[in-house]
Point group: C2
Chain length 163, copies 2
DNA sequence: ATATTATAGACAATATTAATCGGCGATTAA
DNA sequence: TTAATCGCCGATTAATATTGTCTATAATAT
């Protein structure tokens, strides 16, 4: 049980979009090449991000993607939900309602599954944390953690195409 | 991205083992039949629970499974980890280290991925909650939530084979 | 002994994930 | 206005994971 790599791709790519001037954009090709990822697959991921309103696209020559709102307002959870969809982690097929006893007297009111409620609450704890971390927070963290040189070179890489 | 149904099967089945006297056991066949589940698949799930020390098995005629420790000491997370394995739900392939800049000058120290650290912390929030809910808590909750009649009938169902 | 049960592993069907391919329309630059 | 570049979308494939089944084996109560 794991999130798809799409989530990982998305988060890493979005980092590179944070400091891109709002008039510019970065193409899928650049993002894929820079990180050694599949271009076509990455474009699918960005389709989802676009649909979720996290990025906006610029089509045509010199087109690409840019953030469609402030990095302050984009949380880890926003990104994950955009890529993975809203489905809960725990699947509840209401097993108890298929149970022998219920099959016999089928008129009992279908109560909500206690086990599922626990799982939903647990997942909510995780989401709350992910909602509390934004892209701008991540950007600052990376400034703190990564060598200055690398950060600058990276920014340069993605702006060079739009000199 | 979802936990396998095995997790759901396990949790629901374990509920039925809570009140089983420590000298008795419940067979896979009964558990599967009662809930309308695949018997062979359920036996795989119980293999994992057994390996994880959550249940212990009694083989041979009139054999089956019973809890191998107090329901107080079995948490939701214990069960999930037993069935799903210990792998984190976010896959980190250290994309950043495959990046263009790193490919060029490969001698930079491989730092840990900040994105991954966030994901691990988030997951930990979920686990903490799941660790705080035990089978005995669940049992009390079910007593509170489900009709008394259903609970009694259920207990009767699983004890009848060992009169 | 025999029937019943867990255990283990090989196998198979299905679903999901990851990725590719090809065609479309939009945009820009020449 | 034409050619090249790009995002967009749908179909297709390949690889992997999930959800089972089937068989053989070992343990055990009757």
């Amino acid at each position: 049980m794991q999130y798809s790599v799409g989530v990982e791709y998305a988060l890493h790519c979005l980092v590179y979009l944070i400091d891109v001037p709002s008039k510019e954009s970065v193409g899928i090709k650049d993002l894929a090449e820079f990180q050694g990822l599949s271009e076509t697959f990455l474009s699918k991921v960005f389709g989802k991000l676009s649909k979720a309103g996290i990025v906006s696209s610029v089509s045509g020559v010199k087109g690409g993607y840019r953030l469609s709102k402030s990095p302050e307002d984009i949380s880890f959870w926003d990104v994950i939900e955009a890529v993975e969809g809203p489905k809960p982690i725990f699947q509840c097929k209401n097993i108890k309602d298929n149970g022998y006893l219920y099959r016999e007297n089928c008129c009992s009111a279908p109560s909500s599954c206690t086990i599922n409620l626990v799982m939903l609450s647990a997942e909510e704890k995780m989401r709350d944390y992910l909602r509390s971390k934004s892209l701008s927070w991540l950007n600052e963290e990376l400034d703190r953690v990564l060598p200055k040189q690398i950060r600058e070179d990276t920014q340069k890489y993605f702006s060079k195409s739009n000199i």
